[in-house]
């Protein structure tokens, strides 16, 4: 006890702030959380990119098969010779005529004129590009467009009425298209369709 004239003893001071250990632990936890969040963010971006590329490849495949089918259905039939006007039939290239006006009963080859009323159409795979080209006076200027640049394989088969492979435009009735698309970093999409020729 303090007597008269004696000063009261100081109350013990409360400790202020954090210890070094507490600061280090907090900084570590915050760093760990930031690292984890960054990992998920980067991973999500990669995932979105992959999914978008994959979806685009599937949509490309759907659109280009539809386009090719539409073109092939228009192959001109020459009633005089009883054959479709197809001048090249190989696994990677098909060249044919389609009529843009009144039917002229003759096939006009790769360079049709106004008088033929025809347009020459070329479907061709070149490395990873699948190209569709038009030529002839009615298609001037001639143009070739790449329908896709992600082809890993493409093949055409030319089939007769009994579904056997044929090399003759005279017996050609179906064209089978087999396509594999694979943009970088995504799964390949392998598909096949058949187009029946209709102008006979």
């Amino acid at each position: 006890m303090s007597g008269p004239g004696q000063a009261a003893p100081c109350a013990p001071r409360r400790q202020q702030g954090f210890t070094l250990v507490e600061v280090v632990i907090s900084a570590g936890l915050i760093g760990f959380l930031a690292l984890t969040a960054t990992f998920f963010w980067v991973d999500s971006l990669g995932l979105v990119r992959t999914v978008n590329t994959d979806s685009a490849a599937i949509a490309d495949g759907r659109a280009l098969l539809e386009r090719l089918a539409r073109e092939i259905r228009e192959v001109k039939f020459n009633p005089s010779s009883g054959a479709y006007c197809v001048s090249t039939m190989s696994a990677t290239q098909m060249v044919f005529n389609k009529t843009s006006g009144d039917l002229v009963a003759a096939c006009s080859g790769a360079s049709p004129t106004d008088a033929n009323n025809d347009i020459a159409v070329t479907i061709q795979v070149n490395s990873t590009n699948l190209n569709l080209g038009y030529a002839g006076t009615l298609a001037a200027p001639a143009a070739t467009k790449a329908l896709t640049s992600y082809v890993s394989s493409f093949a055409m088969r030319f089939l007769d009425a009994s579904y056997a492979v044929t090399a003759s435009a005279g017996t050609l009735r179906f064209v089978e298209l087999s396509l594999t698309l694979q943009p970088p970093g995504v799964q390949a999409t392998q598909t096949r369709t058949v187009v029946a020729l209709r102008n006979e």
Binding site: L33, T36, F40, L47, R192
Partner: protein, 116 residues
């Protein structure tokens, strides 16, 4: 709590790929189905109604996980199973099944053919 959230997010990722796979299967399967329908209709048009048979799509399968050929089921006007269209009307149902995992069956399409 962090672990629970992480596991939740990780569990969501395969679902995204599952959706992609489903989209791809539908594309490949529907093209296969279209090819089969195209063949049936072309045969109907070029060689006649009586030549439409349930074996016409044999040989079309074998790609993208669709190992089997499209199955063509023909039925007459009374719903009886037949192998070749012969009576006045004939119904062709085309079924496409993906056998490779993840397996999938597309909604069949039905063609109504008539002898005229």
């Amino acid at each position: 709590m962090l672990t629970a959230v992480s596991l939740g997010i990780l569990a969501m990722q395969p679902q995204v790929f599952k959706t992609q796979t489903t989209g791809r299967d539908q594309f490949v399967g529907s093209e296969l189905m279209r090819a089969c329908a195209e063949r049936l209709l072309a045969v109907r048009r070029s060689t006649g109604y009586a030549t439409v048979a349930n074996s016409l799509c044999n040989g079309m399968g074998g790609l993208g996980g669709f190992a089997s050929n499209p199955t063509v089921t023909l039925a007459d006007a009374n719903g009886n199973s037949i192998t070749t269209c012969s009576s006045a009307t004939c119904t062709a149902t085309i079924i496409v099944v993906k056998s490779a995992a993840p397996a999938a069956t597309l909604t069949p399409i039905t063609l109504q053919l008539s002898a005229y």
